[in-house]
């Protein structure tokens, strides 16, 4: 068969919900660099929250060691598939930084509790112990770059949260989803919706079954303020936009601790 006669296999970039790659419930698509990508609707956002909620207790209940292994596995798979990101303008140094970031966060899974929790000195015959617990389901408006995307997903999931990510850059995000889908990440832990986040984010901001809202990637201050007001109705934690964020810098612990709740237990001391 002559080479020219071969049928072109064109890719459709679909959503990533509950470990599967469905089209948008609305059937809508948009074109990005000549390929079709799914344009997520509010019902896709609702389904993604259901998937994230269903996955959350088991993911949070997994041992920290196990979560670290899964995150390290993501770094392995990214290393193996790094060339798949090249067509979307991801340079070698950004790819390196992205993989290093996963490895860095993977290492934190079984250490964050020692750093942010511990025994507290109290005046009385009690053991007083604080331990960090995941906030729950986190809705994230991600920045467009691959490093930025990883810099918002990894700190949320490493501590046992599950995420619904609104990704502005469909091809990069869904290629990352393909890495996650082959890295032993349980279905529903990371859910990625592509399309116009200005359309779906308000539904997530007001959703009573979403526990925190990360607005890192929101570009318009007005929209960010509106989302923050909507989130206040259900007392969600909100991470404000960071338009000038330098994702190559050391992120510190703040991205992880922002999505943790401290639980403190008083226990009587016996003689």
């Amino acid at each position: 068969m002559p080479k020219s006669a071969r049928l072109a296999v064109r890719k459709t970039y679909k959503l990533f919900i509950g470990g599967a790659f469905p089209r948008s419930e609305s059937g809508r698509t948009f074109v990005v660099n000549g390929d079709n990508a799914a344009l997520a609707s509010r019902k896709d956002a609702r389904d993604a929250v259901l998937a994230a909620r269903a996955a959350q207790p088991k993911w949070a209940g997994a041992t920290a060691y196990n979560r670290g292994q899964v995150l390290y596995r993501i770094a392995e798979m990214l290393e193996a598939r790094r060339r798949e990101f090249t067509p979307f303008g991801v340079k070698a140094d950004e790819m390196d930084a992205t993989i290093d970031r996963w490895v860095w966060y993977a290492g934190w899974s079984d250490k964050i509790a020692q750093v942010t929790g511990g025994a507290n000195p109290v005046a009385g015959p009690f053991f007083n112990i604080s331990s960090p617990e995941p906030t729950g389901v986190v809705a994230v408006v991600a920045p467009p770059s691959l490093l930025g995307l990883v810099s918002v997903i990894a700190p949320a999931v490493v501590t046992g949260n599950t995420v619904v990510v609104l990704a502005p850059e469909a091809q990069t995000a869904i290629t990352l989803a393909e890495v996650l889908a082959t890295s032993d990440v349980p279905g529903g832990v990371v859910n990625i919706l592509t399309g116009k986040y200005a359309e779906t984010a308000p539904w997530l901001a007001a959703h009573a079954d979403v526990n925190a809202l990360d607005l890192t990637g929101v570009e318009h201050a007005e929209l960010a303020a509106e989302l923050e007001r909507a989130a206040a109705g259900t007392l969600k934690r909100v991470i404000r936009p960071r338009p000038d964020a330098d994702f190559t810098a050391d992120p510190g612990l703040r991205p992880m601790t922002a999505l943790l709740e401290t639980k403190t237990v008083w226990h009587p001391k016996g003689e």
């Binding site: 959703h207 009573a208 079954d209 979403v210």
Partner: protein, 309 residues
């Protein structure tokens, strides 16, 4: 007994086996087609309120305590404490031992009190025990009795025995409404569901109910469709209306609305009322409340804001 006078007890077998067979493929595709109807906005809001009014809020666990039953009754009287416009459920459904507790908790509320009886869920007990079970529940304050038929006897072809049992339990229930549970998951075929429906109606059932909720297969839309056709045909033949209650496995608003569509398209408006159609359910109510909140507030609701039952 009036119904049997017209067909004669000895003819029961030939009557039931003379009923037309159910087209399995047809009924399943009809039910699937009815399940695709889109009900939105104000129609959805009124469907949700109707569904809430049709719920028989149920707890049938060995671990039921008086406290749990009282909590369930409070929820049944006012399902959404944050919204006074939310209607009450149709009834609370409990085991006979819990009827006195529930009767006290529901006094004056207008919410009915249903009790399962007749050796629920298996029905494998002597008739005297079943009748005593029924009488005790009625005396303790139940105004609806959910009885189970002897599936073993029905499947063995002892139709007269099943018939006599229903008649006896009906008599023991006195003024209480009698719902007859066919346990369709154990009847194996749609033909048997149709026969059992007719048998129960001829014996005097006020309601026919699909399931106990205790076996693998509970209420399904096609089975409910077959039962709705039976109550429709029975009313034409005998001029008496009988209610239908699917129970078990109806978990969310979408399912509940499919049932409402099926009622409307099969038997019409006459059955679209809590007097003639009920949902036997527990987790369904919270989903109905969440969908209701979504419509009234404009944002998605979460289970953290509703009671755990």
């Amino acid at each position: 007994m009036t119904a049997t006078a017209s067909i004669g007890l000895s003819d029961l077998r030939s009557f039931l086996h003379g009923l037309p067979g159910v087209d399995k493929v047809g009924v399943e595709s009809r039910a699937a087609a009815l399940g695709t109807r889109s009900v939105k906005a104000s129609a959805k809001a009124s469907a949700i309120d109707l569904a809430i009014r049709m719920v028989d809020l149920t707890t049938l666990e060995g671990a039921d305590t008086p406290g749990k039953v009282r909590a369930l009754c409070a929820k049944g009287r006012r399902p959404d404490p944050a919204d006074p416009s939310c209607p009450a459920v149709a009834a609370i459904c409990v085991y006979p031992a819990m009827v006195p507790v529930a009767a006290a908790a529901l006094a004056g509320s207008g919410v009915h009190l249903a009790s399962v009886a007749t050796a629920f869920p298996s029905g494998q007990a002597p008739l005297e025990v079943k009748l005593a079970d029924t009488r005790a529940a009625v005396e303790a304050g139940a105004d609806e009795i959910d009885m189970v038929i002897s599936r073993g006897a029905f499947l063995a072809g002892e139709y007269n025995r099943v018939f006599d049992e229903i008649v006896a339990v009906k008599e023991a229930s006195g003024a209480a409404h009698l719902k007859v549970i066919l346990e369709t998951g154990e009847l194996a075929t749609y033909d048997n569901v149709r026969r059992a429906s007719w048998l129960a109606m001829l014996a005097g059932a006020d309601f026919i109910k699909t399931s106990t909720g205790k076996v693998a297969v509970n209420a399904t839309l096609p089975i409910t469709l077959v039962m709705l056709e039976a109550v429709r045909d029975y009313r034409i033949a005998y001029n008496r209306q009988v209610g239908v209650k699917p129970a078990g496995g109806i978990k969310n608003t979408k399912d509940a609305i499919k049932y409402l569509v099926t009622i409307n398209e099969t038997v019409g408006d006459d059955w679209l009322s809590p007097d003639w159609f009920r949902f036997g359910a527990s987790s369904l109510l919270n989903d109905l409340l969440m969908q209701r909140t979504r419509l009234t507030t404009g944002h998605y609701a979460g289970p953290d804001y509703f009671t755990l039952d």
